[in-house]
Symmetry: C2
DNA sequence: AGTGCTGGGACGAAAAATGACCAGACAGAA
DNA sequence: TTCTGTCTGGTCATTTTTCGTCCCAGCACT
């Protein structure tokens, strides 16, 4: 923070919150445009009148335009958004927090986005956008990218922008169905990524909960073997992080599974593995998919997860042997993680 | 203005006025400290409650302290003031206006201070402070400095700070009494300058309105001759600019004088000379003092005058043959000057 | 043609800003 | 010493602004 901004804040402490609020609104519009007031209110979690005051102002400033279809940001608005990006991060103290988190989690690169996706759904889009931008930056050097499922991954795919199609890109579904909704399955996500970027994709269709024999047999199938081969060549893996119990429930796991997971003290889940608070593997779903050892060997492990409710899971997962190299999260999760570690230190 | 500040203003247009207001208050406190709320209100020309809201905030921000004797600025406050100085100027568009004025008036260096000293008396102190700082910067290279009288000059002397006494400095009263109040006479001002800076001073005591014979005789006196000699060696002259009619009245000029001045179309006055709108000499008081030719030869002519009411005078004076090299004025005067010249162009 | 959005308008209620006043405290003068 | 003036901090009715909540006409997509 430079001396000027610092002095500005001394003289106008109310500026900080105001700027952050308006920035958020503008950013949300830019992400969801065209969008109406009501929808915007729901997303931002504030009343209509409050939003209206700010959108009226933004319109007067010619940062957004009101069309019959909804509000859209102008070129000027985009420019403002771009110019203020770093400043808002500084204001929220996110830059400082990133450094702190890097030490706590032992992850070399961390990006924290403002606010909490638990409270404000739109933040999920912001996270997705940031992850998408980061990924796009990798496309030049890396072509074989494994992706998992989940709503977070879906958010990323939405924000990918196919500025220049790259046929060499290959998106590999890191797991089979894993019992998720079709829209959030790794297969669907891989397809979405490929469509947005002009690349190709490889899917893995395998039912969950196979018997040991059936599983062993499937693993000998050529298509499956080919996938396993691809996993070995994976350069980048992008994945979400889940809360162990939530995931177990969502996947309709059997009673024995849930018991194993719970009794084992599982906290986090990623690509079918369940980890306890120390990052030790508690359980893994018996289905084909990328192996932890393969993850370990990939150049870049991009973990994406936000919301205070994911804090424990992130903390747990970041301790596992295949600790991610990059983490994109939000303020809510970051604050909670730091709070948790501080409490731990006090004990 | 950098992109960041620009974007900030787009997003928070109300910030601009707010910042300027608080900056002004803080600056005024710093100049008049210790100062009470009531006094501050009078100076700033706003109601007590309004001031109070801001001073409460400034106190909470620890930029000022409330003592029983009044409010004083803290070290942090001074720092903020310093850091925000340039920004406030930018905000007020003063930087742009300075460039414009430089072209219009043909003066190489112009400094415009915020607000209008006609409306807010404290602005006179700001002008004085700026002039004092500028002068102090010259003390290293220039030692022989001529000063005139007037309230503006008095304001400068108040703001001079004797950080390091310099015995080599010599302040020369540019004129005799010229019928002003004692406190605002050139002699008094020269003494005040000398006292503040640790230098010496030379006064010129000569009654005004001498007959032609008496004047000629006086000019042959050694003390007077010595002064005339000093004027030849003057390196810097600091002076105010007056409105011709006001000055004529204030000096209790004779009826013939006033007639000459008025009929001649005099607009401005400086060191006893009266100039018309084109900068031509209309009349000069017959008393010893620095001559226009001598002013012309000085290295630096620092003219100081503020307030919209002085606009015409400044415009007139800046056209004379000994046009100043530096002008320190305020926003009120600057705006009025530009407005006047624009009207002139339209005709 | 219908339906579900959109922005804009309106209006009472609530909150904040404002203006005006007073009490107690301290500083400096007499 | 006392006295006087100015300072801050507090209070409170009044006004102004803001807020929450509806409703409406119109466009877009189906």
């Amino acid at each position: 923070m430079d001396a000027l901004s610092d002095a500005q804040q001394k003289l106008m402490p109310e500026m900080s919150e105001l700027l952050k609020k308006r920035y958020q609104i503008l950013q949300t519009i830019s992400l969801e445009q065209p969008i109406g007031r009501r929808t915007l209110c729901e997303i931002a979690g504030v009343t209509e009148r409050e939003i209206r005051k700010d959108t009226d102002l933004l319109r007067n400033q010619q940062l957004i335009e009101m069309k019959t279809a909804g509000m859209i940001v102008t070129l000027q608005g985009l420019e403002v958004l771009e110019n203020l990006k770093g400043f808002v991060r500084e204001l929220s103290g996110l830059t400082d927090m990133e450094v702190e988190l890097q030490e706590v989690l032992g992850i070399s690169k961390i990006v924290i986005l403002p606010q909490d996706s638990d409270e404000i759904p739109a933040v999920k889009s912001h996270i997705g956008k940031e992850a998408a931008r980061f990924l796009e930056g990798l496309f030049g050097s890396y072509k074989k990218i494994a992706v998992t499922g989940g709503s977070t991954m879906a958010a990323i795919s939405k924000e990918l922008v196919g500025s220049k199609a790259d046929q060499a890109l290959q998106f590999i579904a890191a797991r089979g169905g894993l019992g998720e909704d079709v829209l959030h399955q790794a297969n669907t996500i891989a397809a979405a990524f490929a469509e947005k970027t002009g690349g190709s994709f490889k899917t893995l269709y395998l039912p969950d909960h196979l018997s040991a024999e059936a599983f062993a047999m499937m693993m000998r199938e050529p298509v499956i073997k080919e996938m396993m081969n691809l996993y070995d060549q994976t350069e980048v893996i992008v994945h979400g992080i889940g809360n162990a119990k939530e995931m177990a429930v969502r996947r309709h796991s059997s009673i024995e599974e849930v018991e194993k997971i719970c009794l084992g003290g599982a906290v986090s889940e990623a690509f079918g593995y369940y980890f306890d608070k120390d990052g030790e593997i508690v359980y893994r779903i018996r289905t084909a998919g990328i192996q932890l050892e393969q993850v370990r060997k990939t150049d870049i492990v991009l973990a994406v997860a936000g919301g205070a409710s994911k804090a424990r899971a992130i903390l747990s997962y970041s301790k596992n042997v295949a600790s991610p190299t990059v983490l994109i999260t939000d303020e809510g999760a970051a604050r909670k993680i730091l709070e948790l570690t501080k409490k731990l230190e006090e004990l």
